[in-house]
Homo-oligomer: 142 residues x 2
DNA sequence: CCATTTACTTATCTTTTGATAACAAAAAGG
DNA sequence: CCTTTTTGTTATCAAAAGATAAGTAAATGG
């Protein structure tokens, strides 16, 4: 198989997915968070609680800037901080009730957009989609 | 099929792909362009020539800000401007020789990273990957 | 103990990005 | 023609994000 052609398809695919996911989360701008702050909240949504170091790693932010954004998120009442009892240097951050609610709304809206996209598919086609997602993750993303 | 479960998988998939593509284009930071400028160059790479309006639409930038970034890219010698003869209001932008060369390097590096990821796959598996990409584009991205 | 390392914070400054107003030139359409 | 619309530019200001220096407190490891 021609690896270059496959790479081209991968690039086009990536561009398309990026556009779709951007469209699905478009509504977030109405809420009062910046893009970087949203990325932090999204990360908290999937792995809670998290330390500033973990966030800095995964969101690709310096530790001082992570600290600043976390402070802003706390001021907005979207997340909470607690000291780790096992290691009192570590700070554990999690979404507050409001933060959970907000991210819940965002995900619900994204899911609704996703549902519309797959609305016309049959059961068999849905299974194909699921299989394709799993195959790409397994073979390409590792 | 459970649509919520499928959506969860889609979210995880999107996050993974985002991470991979970020890793593949990591080396661009060494070149002297900002993230927004890189997006413009990437867009020019796939569709040339482009007008400021088209860029503004696709890269999600206001027209004044697009104009500013295009000026910076021209100052850096990465793209060129020419007036459309058919409609002299329209400005046609394309990559300069340097710009082509730079994006060529970026794509070559990304392709190299991609090759490593698929290095262990058999011919049949590569065909599966290609089929999965096409299926998702057809059924979900439209 | 005590020096060193780790985890985080605060403060400050620069760069990048976003938003808006005002303008110019070409085209479109009576 | 002459008004209106389209396309793009320039200028300016504010907000967001990046970078770096300096400092604190807790843990680690002789």
């Amino acid at each position: 198989m021609d690896h270059s052609a496959l790479f081209q398809k991968f690039v086009a695919f990536t561009a398309d997915l990026h556009e779709v996911s951007h469209e699905l989360t478009r509504g977030v701008k109405s809420e009062d968070v910046t893009p970087v702050q949203y990325k932090i909240l999204e990360y908290m949504m999937v792995s809670q609680p998290v330390t500033p170091s973990e966030i800095a790693d995964c969101v690709d932010l310096s530790l001082p800037n992570t600290s600043r954004e976390l402070r802003k998120l706390m001021e907005k009442g979207l997340c909470e901080k607690a000291t780790d009892d096992a290691d009192r240097r570590r700070q554990l951050f999690r979404l507050s009730t409001d933060g959970q609610a907000m991210m819940g709304r965002v995900f619900a809206q994204a899911q609704q957009g996703f549902e519309q996209r797959i609305a016309g598919l049959t059961e068999d086609e849905l299974k194909e989609v699921e299989a394709a997602l799993e195959l790409l993750q397994r073979k390409v993303f590792q």
